[in-house]
């Protein structure tokens, strides 16, 4: 009776097998894939294009305000002339309109960092899809549990670390893939990259997404590993996505928000992810802010992943 072929699964092997399973499942459901990309695409296309903020400052928007002619005493002119000079309203109006659109561009530049709102918003959409994808993939463990797959895996010698990390990695892969699609679509729709952009920056974008995904997915994993139904985690996700999105720089710069909201936005990891991606794509790169973004995201990932992994681990070895 020497069938004693004792194989020991390595961590990497188990991790790869379990991650591959998730990715295969995902790729075999193209409808879901399209739906997931469609949602931010609709947001980006409709909201990003309809909220034509720079359009507010078009000269035509001044309308027909009556501008009187101005009379200037000739003595004020250089060189002085006798009598009173009248500047006709039509000239003033023209000057004003020109100034107005210059001011507009300046306001756009100072508020959003770019002169077109669409680029600003499109990057925000990348953050949004990263967040929702990550949360939902972390929650897929509920199904594994309900269908008995989780128990089955626990009874095999595969490393517990692999079980947890497969979920996290899967979430990260999905987020990165979808972010790439959204970025490409945004580019087609008119996203304007900054002069400091190089293709190498994409690696930085992925790194930032990776950090946020790890943190968020491990927390959601820990949160849903105990629940037997999908409803509760789903409710939770829809409850927190909106506030997280609006209390951040996804749609609007935080400097213009009321101060209480700024406080939320400044601890919101989405703010840092969005800013990091903007720095790397549409804004002229400012290394010092980018370092702050990455530091925050790293701390966020480290702390939340530690908590999430400890909690999940505890559950797996009940």
């Amino acid at each position: 009776m020497s069938r004693v072929d004792e194989f020991h699964p390595s961590l990497i092997r188990g991790l790869w097998a379990l991650t591959l399973r998730e990715l295969k499942k995902w790729l075999k459901d193209p409808v879901m894939l399209v739906m997931f990309i469609l949602q931010p695409l609709i947001w980006m296309g409709l909201l990003g294009k309809s909220m034509n903020i720079q359009g507010l400052f078009l000269s035509g928007n001044i309308g027909n305000i009556s501008i009187p002619s101005i009379q200037v005493p000739g003595s004020l002119l250089n060189p002085p002339v006798n009598g009173v000079i009248t500047i006709p309203s039509i000239i003033i109006s023209k000057q004003l309109q020109e100034m107005f659109s210059n001011i507009g561009l300046n306001i756009m530049q100072n508020t959003f960092g770019v002169t077109d709102y669409f680029s600003y918003m499109a990057v925000g959409m990348i953050s949004m899809i990263v967040m929702t994808t990550t949360m939902f993939s972390g929650m897929s463990i509920v199904w594994d549990r309900r269908l008995g797959f989780l128990n089955k895996v626990i009874s095999t010698p595969v490393s517990r670390t692999a079980i947890i990390f497969a979920k996290i990695l899967n979430a990260t892969f999905r987020a990165i893939f979808q972010a790439t699609v959204i970025l490409a679509l945004a580019y087609i729709l008119g996203l304007q990259v900054s002069p400091t952009f190089t293709w190498l920056n994409i690696i930085g974008v992925y790194a930032a997404i990776f950090l946020l995904s790890i943190g968020l997915s491990s927390v959601f994993l820990a949160f849903s590993i105990r629940s037997t139904r999908m409803e509760r985690p789903m409710q939770f996700v829809s409850l927190i996505t909106m506030p997280l999105m609006f209390a951040s720089n996804v749609f609007f710069p935080i400097s213009l928000m009321p101060s209480w909201m700024q406080i939320i936005a400044r601890v919101n990891p989405l703010t840092y992810l969005t800013d990091a991606i903007r720095q790397l794509t549409i804004l002229p790169l400012d290394p010092s802010t980018l370092i702050i973004d990455f530091t925050y995201l790293s701390i966020f990932a480290l702390v939340l992943a530690t908590i999430g992994i400890i909690l999940s681990w505890k559950y797996l070895t009940r």
Partner: protein
């Protein structure tokens, strides 16, 4: 190697500090036998299997599988056992073959060996023709066979089967039994299984432990258990409304008589010999026998005897019902 493959000593699991699922259970499973846990849902069968397969940690007590402690040497245990859970755990989106390879990966079996084994096992459970079809197209019986094949990918010395035919129709159930027997023979394993089907326990198991409310009530071979009832059961009804218990006892060779509203359950070793004597004795006293039947005891009687109720009328937890509904739905798919 010692003769005892599984040794459980006062194994106990308490959930949430007050729900005692398994209550100081001790038993031994011998090398090469099929040992069955028979009991209603919620009796603690699955919890016991979950502890033995290292999914749950016991609250109290110890157990070992092939000499490895289920807590301290959990990883060793995992390497030598195969588990076929109650649920259909194979991934519906993947093909049968992909599922087999996934299982192999979880055990760290090198790919070339894994491929060979996967095909060999699929052949054994007659799924080779469907190996590249998605599992969602499989019938309940096919899925069950795939689960069996997955559970054997690491050539386990001990196989755990949790409700192996739950939700299958009678024909598929019988077919699954023959697959289990064939696989056991082929791979020379010890099997620990749970079931709430009496017939299943009777056909498959070498020894049975009847478990109820987390406790083992009795252990024995099916025939030992049936014999322990005390032979056959004669059921008799008389027309008159008089208690004839004493008359029946006076015939001799009667083990036990129970009277329930004029119907008497009589336990005796040789029912076919005793029955005419009873009828005669009653007739002499002037009573009229209206009904008579003799039954050899089945596990049903054994179960009634030891638990005081039939196996069917049991309340189940909502969670168990939900899990089972998913399993049943998948069993009936297609």
């Amino acid at each position: 190697m010692s003769d005892e493959v599984i040794v459980a000593n006062k194994l106990t699991k308490i959930f949430n500090r007050n729900l005692v699922a398994v209550d100081h259970v001790s038993f031994n499973v011998k090398d090469g036998e099929i040992f069955g846990f028979l009991g209603p849902n919620g009796a603690g069968k699955t919890t016991t299997i979950n502890m033995l397969t290292t999914v749950l940690k016991p609250t109290e007590g110890t157990a070992s599988v092939l000499g490895y402690d289920i807590v301290k040497q959990a990883n060793r245990v995992r390497e030598v056992i195969g588990v076929v859970p109650q649920e259909y755990t194979a991934d519906e989106d993947l093909t049968g073959y992909e599922n087999m390879i996934l299982c192999a990966d979880l055990y760290g079996i090198p790919r070339d060996i894994a491929r060979k084994r996967a095909l060999e096992l699929l052949e054994l459970v007659e799924l080779v023709g469907f190996k590249d079809k998605r599992v969602e197209t499989y019938s309940g019986g096919m899925r069950r066979r795939l689960e069996l094949a997955c559970g054997l990918i690491n050539r386990p010395k001990v196989l755990f089967l949790d409700e192996p035919t739950l939700g299958l129709d009678v024909q598929t159930r019988a077919a699954t039994w023959s697959y289990i027997k064939r696989l056991k023979k082929e791979y020379d394993m010890t099997i620990f299984m749970t079931t709430h089907y009496l017939e299943e326990a009777d056909t498959l198991c070498d020894r049975i432990a009847i478990i109820d409310h987390g406790k083992i009530i009795v252990v024995g071979t099916p025939s030992e258990l049936k014999d322990s009832i005390g032979g056959d059961i004669i059921t008799i009804s008389i027309k008159e409304n008089i208690d004839v218990t004493e008359t029946i006892y006076s015939i001799g060779n009667v083990k036990e008589v129970k009277n329930e509203n004029g119907t008497y359950w009589i336990k005796a070793e040789k029912g076919e010999v005793l029955a005419p004597l009873i009828v005669e004795a009653l007739w002499r006293k002037g009573y009229t026998v209206t009904k008579l039947s003799i039954t050899e005891p089945t596990l049903n009687e054994v179960y009634l005897e030891y638990t005081g109720r039939a196996i069917r009328d049991i309340k189940e937890s909502r969670e168990a019902i939900r899990m089972q509904r998913i399993t049943l739905r998948r069993a009936r798919a297609r």
